[in-house]
Amino acid sequence: MEQLASALGTVIVGVLACVAYFYGSNWLLDRVFPANAASAEKGIKNLQIAHAVRPWLFLGPALLTLGLYLVYPALDSVRLSFYNSDSTQFVGLDNYVWLWFDDGFRQSMFNNMLWLIFVPAMSTFFGLVIAALTDRIWWGNIAKSLIFMPMAISFIGASIIWKFVYEYRGEGSAQIGILNAIVEALGGDPQAWITIPFWNNFFLMIILVWIQTGFAMVILSAALRGIPEETIEAATIDGANGVQIFFLIMVPQIWKTIAVVWTTITITVLKVFDIVFAMTNGQWDTQVLANYMYDWMFRGGGDFGRGATIAVIIMLLVVPIMIWNIRSATRDSKGH
């Protein structure tokens, strides 16, 4: 409880400090460069200076935090990837060479590619289908809310939920995992699903699809509602059926939104860590980059060089999407 009190205290102190900083620095600026100075010329000059400085007072704390917690570390990670395990010696490209021939890395890359194809595709597909279907029924909003719900659940909570679904009990005892119970009811043999190499990747991916579908659905549902009614009416008059309207009229019009959803989920997939960490910790051939990076970061006291190298690889995979995002964002604000 004492701890909570200190947290609340921090909130108050933090907020007060922020207010004091913003108020104080603005006040100081107006004091040092007053607009109503002795001469009119001086006053205009002061105004210009204050005008040029003020944005940086507003931006200061944010830029400082972004610099310290994102920009500097990102650059430093690149630097550290050329150093040895405790960052004391420059080793050139050694870490990258090691990575190239490392089995764990190859497996992580292969699995990450599987994740990158399967998860965005399935999430977007289900999201689109659910968005289209729920728009047509009266209880659609309740259905959407329920499918959206996993978004609020932590990856680790979701892992426990699904580990319980996949739970395997040996031959002879009753299966308490629903998947094995269904398989048994259909006459199949129960399996320890997450230990079957290759296919177990998909059992882990399903967890992320389960979480991300709600996100895709919400965005795509809004996009579908934005489609001009006339295009659909015209198609109906021309005799198109529901499926044709959906694929030939509606989907092409929201193509851009689908791309945004797809790339956003792709980013999430590249960073996926908790699920693999909790379900298998990379065993049974399920390793992925983010978990492999964490593994090296702490393995045997921590190999920062190799860990940083894996982080740089993840970053490189993100860069194309980053550039695409920046380009479309700047295009947007120019049109503003």
Binding site: V19, T65, I160, W162, Y294, M297
Partner: protein
Amino acid sequence: MISGSKTKSPLMWVVHLSVLMLVLLWTLPTIGLFVSSIRDKDQLAVSGWWTALFSSEQNVIGRSVDPEDQVFKDGLYVLQGNVLEQDGNSGTIKAFGWRAQEPAAFKVGETADMRRDRKMTVESDGSYTITQPEEWTGKRGKRIFYTIETPPIFTLDNYREVLTAEGIGQSFVNSLTVTIPSTVIPILIAAFASYALAWMHFPGRAVLIAVVVGLLVVPLQMSLIPLLRLYNGVGSFFGVPAKTYLGIWLAHTGFGLPLAVYLLRNYISELPREIIESARVDGASHFDIFVKIILPLSFPALASFAIFQFLWVWNDLLVAMVFLGNTEDQLVLTGRLREMLGSRGGNWEILTASAFITIIVPLGVFFTLQRYLVRGLLAGSVKGG
């Protein structure tokens, strides 16, 4: 949308049915978790959660009293007692048997003929008699196989246990300690920056906006090692622990800022120009405009971000594992869950109850503030395209 087809399509029931199937598919795993968390732990271990409303059956091997406790009655030597009481089981007995090959060959109340004129009877309440004409010898009693049927038991015992003995209560407090400052602090910092990026003119503004959009997708992994080194360095330089709440508050503030600035700038830049300009004409300073006009008007965007940040910090495992310790007063809920998965892997009554406590807070936030969350998602994503 396709309003015309709403009534005339004969395939409407297919739509209803498929949506129902999808909803079930998406909710059943969570329902299973919840139902399991309130079941009796012995039942949970032997039967699926979907059978929770039905009685569960269990095969048990018990033993009669030892021969030294035998009584002589009506010309027979009798071993008698109550097998349920002896084994400490509850429920009613459905069937019994005396051989391992046929553990449920006889219904309760029937008399089973065993070898050498021995007879066994077991009643539903567990009382049994085993008789034979000669005196019983040997040290141990006879084996009794029986099937008990237990009515469904729902209990909060699992929750009581995890909240106290398993330390989930303490972790809950730890999670709150991490989450509250990490949610509030970035809002203010971001709001001021967003105002500058939206309504002030200065060289480099466009570049800064582009940088923020770029930082949105920088993977956390890029920050971990340098920050860990930095924290360790600061810790040993000043002789303070490297893993502190202050450290994780600042880390979460940094990681949450790009989204905060991006969301808030988009929103603030679309506030009507006239309001801000007329306030300028009236001689209001930027600071006054920000506090008196922008902040109140941006409430929906602030709420959206607050919800995102709250969910993200509460659900985070990676940052907490790197920047907080494993001690009782620093282990957050997600970290505790992950630890339990290792140490309590088979104890589903503990795992399910703990997991449910962990997800109940975000679910509550989700269902009460869903519209802000949706609005934030739309502002954060559709804009990019």
